[in-house]
Each structure stands twice: as C-alpha cells, then as structure tokens.
C-alpha cells in the first residue's frame, strides 16, 4: 500500500447526532460523518471522544460500525449500537439530536470476504451482532448463502433479530435464560448449521469466551473462523500498545499484536486462546521476545 493511500484511509470529524433511539438494552445512534462513511468496511470501528471541554475522561471509546450510508439527506452517516456500561458510554447514550461527538475512523481491519460464493454463518453475541448485518449484505451480494445466529443473556440484550431475518437466509436465536429463541449459547446450534449449510466461514463478534468457542466449533466442523475481538484500547490508532493479544503469525510464531490495527478481526485459529484467563492475557512463554522484568 502506498503512503498516500495509507494516509487517506482514516479521518477525524466532529459528527452531529441526527438520530438516537432505544433498542432493547441498547442505544442506536446515527452520526453525520461523511468521511468515515465513505471509507468504512464491515468489521471496522470508530473511536469517539467523551465528555466535551470539561471532560476528565481522556480516552476514546470504540464501537463497531453498524451501518454506513455514504450519502444521504445529511451527508454520509455512520450508525453505532451502544451498550451503556460506564461513564463514557453513559455520556454517549445521553447525547441528543444535534449534539456533536468527535469521531475518528474507520479503524482496524475489516472482515475478509471470501473470493468464492461459499456459505457463511454470522454469529453475534449481544451488541456484537451490530456489524454483521452490513457484512451479511455484502456476502449475499457475492452470492454467499448467509445464516445468522444471534445470542444474548436475555431478550432485551439481543440486537437486530428482525433485521437479521431481512439480511440473511436463516436466523437462529439463543438466550441464556430462554426469554427468546432457544435456551443456551450460540455455540449450541452452530455445529448443525455449519454442517447443514457446508459453511466455509464463520464470522463472529461478541465476548472473548464466545469467540473462543465459535473458533473451536468452526475448526471441528471444517470452517474458518473470523472473529472480531474487543480489547481495552487507549488510542485505537496503533500508537500505544495497550490493546495487544497473543496471535500466531504466518511464520507460526506468536507475537503480542495490536488488535486496533492488526485486528479487531483475526482468524480464530490464530488467536492464542490458551493465554486468556478472567480478563487477563498472559504473554505465552513461546512468544517473540518473551516476558522479562521491564519498565513500562
């Protein structure tokens, strides 16, 4: 990639909120961000600044891009789906139409698309389904058969069941408590779906534990898993090294790679799931430059 195109692929803009509405446990927000809208691909994300001039929260918050409309009445728009879990997301969901938010994006690598029209299964946990509908559309345009599995703890935490029916050739819903669809996890129906559709790729987005089991199921059933991870990110643009995870490279060696620029989408079988444990990720002993005592 030439320097020029590298420099052109990300933008920073002050985006106006033009719509914001409650969807179950989430807030669905539409931002006018023509630059981002024009460049983005499914699987990429945006990083939003929080709190305005008096803000003591310096770090941006990352959100998968749910949808883009590169042109429209207001100029290009970008949609995100936000779960309010802490101070930053609470601030974001409280924005009213016409308020502005500073946005950087699109960031990260998009979901790779198959070159042949293979069947695909798209698995989303909670708001993790947000980027998958757009992806489903692109896959079907390429002639892929697309099925979706949406799972969540409970019905209100499912996102986009109706949209899933529109965007795909088959939808399965699971909830931990059985309040919607079948009781259980997304990994329960997955083997049957992969086998039945002879899926070549399973795309996943959701919590780490879910991505790990999707990967195992896909592997066991002959499919490739492409998973979008969610690591704690200070910068989102590749400069701080906080968002790393142990991933096996094409040379077979494990490195701590930045999930914001080399991800958030990784091939599931490349992720060193064995290193993750209750919110921590160890540096595997066989990683390049294995851990020593060191400064910060």
């Amino acid at each position: 990639m030439s320097e020029r195109s590298l420099r052109a692929r990300v933008t920073q803009e002050v985006a106006e909120v033009i719509a914001t509405r409650r969807v179950g446990a989430y807030q669905h927000i539409t931002l006018v961000a023509p630059g981002v809208a024009e460049l983005a691909r499914p699987g990429q994300f945006v990083a939003l600044a929080v709190g305005g001039e008096t803000s003591g929260t310096l770090l941006r918050r990352s959100f998968s891009i749910h949808k883009v409309s590169p042109s429209g009445t207001y100029g290009g728009t970008v949609e995100i789906v936000v779960s309010a879990v802490g101070v930053g997301t609470r601030w974001i969901v409280e924005r009213a139409p016409h308020d502005t938010i500073d946005v950087v994006g699109p960031l990260g690598k998009a979901f790779p698309l198959p070159t042949a029209p293979v069947a695909c299964v798209l698995v989303g946990g909670g708001y993790g389904s947000a980027p998958l509908f757009w992806l489903a559309g692109e896959l079907r345009e390429r002639g892929c058969h697309v099925e979706m599995v949406l799972g969540a703890a409970s019905e209100d935490k499912l996102f986009g069941v109706v949209e899933a029916r529109r965007s795909s050739d088959g939808v399965t819903v699971t909830t931990d408590d059985g309040s919607a669809g079948q009781r259980g996890w997304v990994s329960d129906p997955l083997p049957e779906i992969i086998d039945r559709t002879k899926a070549g790729v399973v795309y996943g987005c959701g919590p780490m534990g879910m991505l790990e089991s999707i990967t195992r199921v896909a592997e066991a059933h002959g499919a490739v898993a492409q998973v979008a991870v969610e690591e704690s990110m200070a910068c989102g643009v590749g400069v701080c090294m906080t968002c790393v995870m142990p991933v096996v490279g094409s040379d077979g060696r494990t490195r701590m790679v930045r999930s914001c620029v080399e991800g958030p989408v990784f091939r599931g079988d490349r992720v060193r799931w064995d290193a993750f444990d209750g919110g921590h990720a160890r540096v595997p002993d066989d990683a390049v430059g294995a851990p020593k005592v060191g400064g910060h």
């Binding site: 320097e3 590298l6 420099r7 052109a8 692929r9 990300v10 920073q12 600044a49 003591g56 929260t57 310096l58 770090l59 941006r60 500073d102 950087v104 690591e231 704690s232 200070a234 910068c235 989102g236 643009v237 590749g238 400069v239 701080c240 090294m241 906080t242 790393v244 995870m245 490195r255 701590m256 620029v261 290193a275 209750g278 919110g279 921590h280 990720a281 160890r282 540096v283 990683a287 390049v288 430059g289 294995a290 851990p291 020593k292 005592v293 060191g294 400064g295 910060h296």
Partner: protein, 316 residues
C-alpha cells in the same frame, strides 16, 4: 510570524519545539495518517532495547481521572529491526528523529546507542533520548533514574558511543525525593539536555474483581492530571540552573500537555521543547494542533521568538 526555531545544543536547530512523546506515537507510520510527521520539530520514537520484547500481559491500561495508567513493558522489535525498518521509514518521509533508547543494564544502553550510530539512516537523527526509567537488573530492579550514580553511569556510556554533534537527553523520572540531584548527575556525566518528566508510578484496583487492574500490577501515570508535577519538576531544575547548581542545558518538557496553553506553562517554567504524549490518544493530531495553538498564543502575547518565552516565569 513567531520564530519557532529552537536550539537543542551541539548546534542542533529544530524548526519548531513540538515533538511526540516516546511510547505515545509508535514509530511514525500510524500518526502519519493524521498529519505529516515531518512537520514536527522532532519525532520521538518508542524506547527501544537491544532485543525484541513482547512486553507485559494485559490489561495494560486503565483510565484514571484526567489521565491513564499504562504498563506496556517496553514491547518493541529491538534495535536491529528499528534501524532496519523504522528509522529508514522516518528518514524517507523527511522526519527529524529523536530515538529513545532503553536497557536493563548500562551495557545494554551503550550497545543500543552503538547500533543506532552505525545504522544507515542515522543522519535523520537529531539527538538521542535516554529513557533511564528502566529497572536495573544489576540492582534488584531499582529504576536507574532513582539513583544518581546509576543514571550517570548510563548517560556516560551512551555519550561515549555517539558522535559529538548528536545531543544526548536524559529522560528523568519524577518519582524521586530530589529531581535536581538526578538532573545534575546526568548533566555532569555528559547529558546535553534533560527530558522531564516520565510517568509517575501509580496503581489502579479493579473494584469488580478486587485485584490490581493492570497485568503488571503497577504502571505509569500520565496525562493532564500530572501536568502540575511536570511544571514543578521543570521549574525546580531550571531554578537550580539559574542558581548555578548545575550547568544550563536545554530541557524538553513533557507531561500532561493537551493544548497550546498547557505547552506554554511548561515553556514558561523552563522547557525549550515540548512533547505531547497521552493527549494523542484523545486527539491523534494533538502535536500539530498544540504547535499551532502555541504559536497563536505567543503571537497574541507579542513574542517574536519562541525562545524568548522559555523560562520567562522565573523571577516574575
């Protein structure tokens, strides 16, 4: 127009005083997507050690009020890869580079400096910053920058490795009882300038899990919240220079700069150049924005030369 040029010692003039901060800008490519890194006075790279390092486990960061805590563990490709890939790239885009080097022993620092000196793109280097906030394996992991002797040892060995015309900056830690003692030891050992300040040692507890939030337990505190500590450190050392307690050398100010006004605080306290670190995570264009804001502010205040504003708050 304000004359923004700055003299960093050993005859090195930079077109302006704005720099990235080590570890907050990677090695250039990423930020070059947001602005031209050659527009900076100098680009400061992530501290590099002799060998590739994977750094620490995760989580490596915690947000804190008006700041953040990090514990990266100096992840990096090692000096070999740095001089083969990163430095030539920075040179290719016309950047002036201030590489930051690190080590676990004074020998390692010297070795890194030597490899740097012998590298093909060394002519893009306008100075070398020595990150002495590293644990010294020879002394129970005590950070070099906490001990005047260990600091002087490192600086002396690095100075020997580098050509005369390359200024060497010792980057100091604020986590000491008297920063002027360390500053003085470094300058006497051959430092041509000082960078102040590195992060403060801090810690965050994850109150959900009731355990340290960072994989590395403690981490470095940075961001606007620590700016008053940076201003104080710069002021104290500059004051010591005025009082003749150590020779006068340029100070590169770093710590909590987010706006041109913030930069001016550090400058007025005694800094001849300014690095922008954590603020980049909030605004990837922060270094060039701060430069623009600083320039406007100086001009509004009637300064013709940036250098006239350096240390101006002393004796007022």
């Amino acid at each position: 127009m304000v004359d923004l040029s700055v003299d960093l010692g050993r005859g090195r003039r930079l077109p302006n005083p704005l720099m990235t901060a080590s570890g907050c800008a990677a090695n250039g490519k990423e930020l070059h997507r947001f602005f031209d890194v050659a527009d900076l006075g100098a680009f400061v790279t992530k501290s590099v050690m002799a060998d590739p390092r994977s750094g620490r486990g995760t989580p490596r960061m915690a947000e804190t009020p008006s700041g953040m805590l990090n514990s990266i563990g100096l992840q990096g490709p090692g000096i070999g890869a740095f001089v083969e890939e990163d430095l030539p790239w920075l040179k290719s885009v016309g950047a002036r580079v201030l590489p930051s080097i690190a080590g676990s022993s004074s020998r390692e620092y010297a070795q890194v400096a030597a490899t740097l000196r012998d590298s093909s793109a060394f002519d893009s280097v306008v100075g070398v910053e020595v990150n002495i906030s590293c644990p010294n394996v020879a002394n129970r992991g005590l950070v070099f920058a906490c001990d005047p002797m260990a600091s002087a040892d490192v600086i002396g060995l690095v100075r020997e490795q580098l050509p005369r015309e390359i200024p060497v900056f010792a980057k100091l830690s604020p986590d000491v009882t008297d920063i002027t003692t360390i500053a003085s030891a470094c300058v006497e050992a051959g430092a041509d300038g000082l960078t102040m300040i590195n992060t403060l040692l801090g810690m965050v507890i994850d109150t959900d899990r009731l355990r340290p939030q960072l994989g590395g337990v403690t981490g470095g505190l940075s961001g606007p919240g620590i700016r008053p500590v940076a201003v104080r450190a710069i002021w104290q050392v500059r004051q010591a220079m005025f009082e003749g307690r150590l020779p006068t050398v340029p100070i590169i100010g770093v710590g909590g700069v987010r706006t041109g006004r913030d930069a001016l605080e550090l400058v007025a306290a005694g800094a001849s150049a300014i690095q922008v670190g954590t603020a980049v995570f909030n605004d990837p264009s922060a270094p060039v924005r701060v430069l623009r804001e600083l320039c406007e502010l100086l001009s509004a205040k009637g300064f013709e030369r940036f250098s006239d504003a350096v240390a101006v708050a002393h004796g007022r």
